[in-house]
Symmetry: C2
Subunit: 178 residues, 2 copies
Amino acid sequence: MGAFWASGYHGTSLPDLLEATKLSRGSLYAAFGDKHGLFLRALDRYIDEALTRLETELDPRNDALTGLRTYLAGYVERTSGAAGKRGCLVVATAMELAAHDAEVNQRVGRFFRVMESRLAIALSRAQAEGRLAVNVDPASVARLLLCTVEGMRVVGKTDPNRAASHAMVKTLLDRFAT
Amino acid sequence: MGAFWASGYHGTSLPDLLEATKLSRGSLYAAFGDKHGLFLRALDRYIDEALTRLETELDPRNDALTGLRTYLAGYVERTSGAAGKRGCLVVATAMELAAHDAEVNQRVGRFFRVMESRLAIALSRAQAEGRLAVNVDPASVARLLLCTVEGMRVVGKTDPNRAASHAMVKTLLDRFAT
DNA sequence: AAATATATGAACTGATCGGTTTATAAATTC
DNA sequence: GAATTTATAAACCGATCAGTTCATATATTT
């Protein structure tokens, strides 16, 4: 996973994958079929981890606005410093392969859809709890948060500035939360 | 430019470039040195066009808020339908190469910095014209707009939904503009 | 029209690509 | 401990990679 994460699909060679997996050539092909199959496995695992974290952060048993703050704070961290430069496998894959690879497109598209809908649910809860501006559509704010965090991953590639991200998130929350 | 735009740096082969440029192999190397040189030329041209458009949209001779609305409306269009699926060469390049290629990193980083600073200037003007909430920091809102539009390019790769983008931009502007 | 650049396509280079085969070594099973 | 499965490393495969060379053709210049 780390290899594809660092260099993308086309940028990762078979020797890179052997080094990363510590497997022999034969074993790798016996286990995953081919490079594309291994890539899908890595992508699935990455997405699964991200969605698991999302479920934790936006757990409906906890305060919705607090969950959203935690979610955004997580992205501030992941787009700062070395983590920022490392970037995001889903975003990199979306840009590199989504247009050419149906299996990849389906996975990336589903990831964004699930994240957007989980955000919308949390925002509706926040609104019901009187912590979100009443005259906004949770679905539109969910889209805004999704685009903002994915944009943070892009900008963080060349400017992984924690202070700027933190101030931006505060400005955003101050404007929508009550 | 179109070839790299469609398939990225590693995903574009020399035959692809010969087809796209209608040049012979010899002429291409005489003109651009190598694949990397040609890529930098394409990237520079793409960035130049984007910054030229930005200067027009945020022209200081016109109303600042109107300029920002035009800027955002442009991104709604560019992330909708076929244009959305096509994506953005800068975003794709940031994810694919910025971490490994200093020349690319410098160009992409400068592009984002310039866009962010132009947005901050326009937002300051809007605030001075009484069209932006007084208690927000233009620099932080500039960062927010930058992340939002670059995130739109990511999400638009798999969900180039004009209505969703339009509603999102309206929600954002309604909350910050007066 | 002759001489001189310039652009071209095709053959070629060495390296690397993803993927397969094979002979051997290491476990596991009986 | 013998037989059998499993994993390994390395040689090998054809294809393709980026990049070069070269002989030929096409302009351009004189």
